[in-house]
């Protein structure tokens, strides 16, 4: 991480970049916040560790409008989102100086707390360059430890690979973390009976508090004015009055990014109720791969999104009934 800080200071001082977009040390061991650094000594508060899960490419939409280049630290999965935003001309490539940062899998403090660990005072083993795979956690109620894999975000278990898709420079090595089959959860749900499927989503979506964090964090969800924000829409985007509204909101949110979603997992990471929202997006990805050929959004900038393309011999919609 120190190498990253010195490089960032260097680029800032020699004027190649006007600001650095990274993470600032939080006041708890697990809550660094995305931050802009404009001066070299403010970079002393820069941090990059296992808790820097935020995907910074969406901030680049606004940063591209500022004058001068912005240095942005992107993890391998973030670069897919940046490519997708590039394809849609939402970010300006020459306004971004991309440093591909190494990634050993990002952590979720909710998962640590689910193992019963409370009153966290300090965590060691989450540093970017540490190689150990257990976290030593010092708490008010004694020393605890937790395996790195158990604390990892769900998206890191199905990581798409540690190769950065777009960068100007690479700093820090990565460690492969994929140990689960990407569509396992989706297949498990598809195998359920309609009643079970309905009950599963009814229970999960009943937790939704309509806070829109999933929509506001998603790099593919970058419309200037979202259809759910118009006041002509009588089922409000704030009230969870009836279970149908949550279903419509989440289906349409996933639908609007179908074929553009890079499966970066931010929606599930930020959901305060821990709803596995990626199950919607990943279902669309699986269908698109099966019906229209494998496609990874953001693999390379400029690729044609499946829903803006067609083939003469595409399957008929009735295939959904035959597929069982």
């Amino acid at each position: 991480m120190q190498e990253l800080i010195t490089r960032a200071k260097e680029l800032l001082e020699n004027g190649t970049v006007a600001r650095v977009l990274g993470w600032k040390i939080g006041d708890l061991p697990y809550n660094p916040e995305p931050a802009f650094f404009e001066t070299a000594e403010s970079l002393d508060k820069f941090v990059y560790n296992g808790f820097c899960g935020a995907n910074l490419s969406k901030y680049m939409i606004e940063a591209s409008k500022l004058e001068g280049k912005t240095l942005v630290c992107l993890k391998p999965c973030d670069t897919y989102s940046f490519n997708q935003l590039l394809t849609e001309h939402r970010v300006d490539r020459d306004k971004a100086y991309i440093i591909g940062v190494g990634c050993k899998g990002k952590l979720d403090v909710e998962k640590i707390k689910k193992t019963g660990i409370k009153g966290i005072v300090s965590i060691s083993g989450a540093e970017a360059d540490s190689a150990c795979d257990t976290l030593e956690i010092d708490t008010l109620y004694g020393k605890k430890s937790c395996a790195y894999g158990d604390a990892m975000l769900e998206r890191c278990h199905v990581c798409k690979g540690k190769e950065h898709k777009i960068y100007d420079e690479l700093i820090g090595e990565s460690r492969d973390t994929a140990d689960k089959e990407r569509f396992a959860e989706v297949e498990m749900i598809e195998a359920m009976s309609p009643e079970e499927k309905f009950a599963f989503f009814q229970k999960e979506l009943s937790k939704c508090i309509r806070c829109n964090a999933c929509r506001n964090v998603c790099p593919a969800c970058s419309c200037r004015k979202c259809v759910f924000d118009s006041n002509k829409f009588d089922s409000a985007q704030k009230a969870n009055v009836d279970s149908f509204e949550e279903k419509m909101f989440h289906i349409i949110r996933a639908f609007h990014v179908a074929g553009r979603c890079t499966d970066c997992g931010e929606c599930s990471r930020v959901c305060p109720q821990g709803i596995p929202l990626h199950l919607f997006n990943r279902k669309f990805i699986k269908d698109i791969d099966e019906l229209y050929g494998d496609y990874t959004a953001g693999a390379e900038a400029g690729s044609l999104a499946p829903l803006t393309d067609f083939k003469m011999d595409d399957a008929e919609p009735s295939i959904v009934n035959e597929r069982g």
Binding site: P32, I209, C211, N240
Partner: protein, 341 residues
């Protein structure tokens, strides 16, 4: 002081349910939220904080105000029935009870909001002391004693027994109803528990946060500070902090056309949303900085100005845990503290 064994709690809840609805923390899909208790539901008293605060019981996320139906030449307005059955909220922590008191100052001040007032009048709150406070808690900063919650009934979970002490006559009435299951208990055990909890609270990282400089008449200097321009940048303008907060009071009034009638309902709203102050000739808070500033100015400056010094924050730490960009009220207070503004 009375007590009941942890294993008999299910029968205690069943007994309470006989005389009215019971709301308590229930684990659904691995998340703990306050919900109406059905027999056999998996209640969860170990998780310190529910995701959504229990203010939902008294000030629901959405409630219908009235229904309008066109009848011939005129419109028939049928107001929604006010709550008129007693109910019990079990397992509220001291910070959430503090949150309800903040909301009382809003909804019970003249003109009284009768929907809220009806629920408050018919609700009995059984508060549970926090056995193991977490690092994001800072209720001590706002003068709330987590070891001794002040509600209709105070309870402590010590070992595998629940200690029960009624504090108000509503609490006495409830204790009366369930006295068959409660046995006498020794006060001293609870005193030791209180000192243990207070010792832990002293060690919490946020407990020494100082609110110096934040009060009702700090409007001018805090409003024009340049710090807001740096603090708001990572904010995603989502509504998480406002919807998990036990003291947020803002609501929106909207219509829902059901085809045969129109239901006018009230739902929580968030000052962080872009259309919060949208009006016919424009929006007086267009930038996210203004909205971010409004949220914390309201909690730490405007509310104390209108409510003789009471802050609109109870230090529960839910915004600290749940903000996607890790921003929260503690970082704002600290940032202003460091800059000495």
């Amino acid at each position: 002081m009375l007590k009941i064994a942890k294993k008999d709690l299910a029968s205690l809840f069943a007994l309470i349910k006989e005389s009215g609805e019971l709301y308590l923390p229930v684990k659904v899909a691995e998340q703990t939220n306050f919900a109406a208790y059905e027999d056999g539901a998996e209640f969860d008293l170990d998780t310190l904080k529910s995701v959504k605060s229990p203010k939902d019981v008294f000030f629901p996320q959405s409630e219908t105000l009235y229904t309008c139906k066109n009848e011939g030449k005129t419109i028939k307005i049928t107001p929604e029935e006010l709550v008129d059955q007693p109910f019990v909220v079990f397992g509220m922590k001291a910070c959430d009870v503090g949150g309800i008191e903040v909301l009382d100052r809003v909804f019970l001040s003249d003109p009284v909001d009768s929907f809220y007032a009806a629920r408050r009048a018919h609700g009995t709150i059984v508060a549970l002391a926090c056995h193991e406070p977490e690092e994001s808690c800072f209720c001590k900063v706002f003068g709330i004693d987590a070891a001794e919650p002040v509600a209709d009934v105070a309870t402590w979970m010590i070992g595998d027994e629940l200690y029960w002490k009624a504090l108000t006559e509503k609490g006495e009435a409830l204790t009366e109803k369930v006295s068959s299951l409660l046995t006498d208990a020794d006060e001293q055990v609870v005193e030791n528990e209180k000192t243990a909890i207070r010792a832990i609270i002293e060690k919490l990282p946020y407990s020494d946060l100082s609110l110096e400089g934040w009060n009702g008449d700090a409007v001018a200097e805090k409003f024009d500070s340049k710090l807001w321009n740096e603090l708001y940048k990572p904010c995603l303008a989502c509504g998480t902090c406002t919807f998990v907060c036990p003291t947020c009071q803002c609501y929106d009034i909207k219509d829902y056309n059901t085809g045969s009638s129109v239901q006018r309902y009230r739902c929580w709203d968030s000052c962080m949303y872009s259309d919060f102050t949208m009006m016919a000739h424009g929006n007086n808070r267009t930038s996210q900085m203004q909205r971010f500033r409004q949220r914390f100015m309201h909690k730490l400056v405007y509310f104390p100005a209108n409510n003789d010094g009471t802050y609109s924050c109870v230090g529960c730490g839910r915004c600290v845990d749940k903000c996607p960009a890790s921003l929260n009220i503690v970082k704002v207070i600290k940032a202003f503290g460091e800059k000495g503004e």
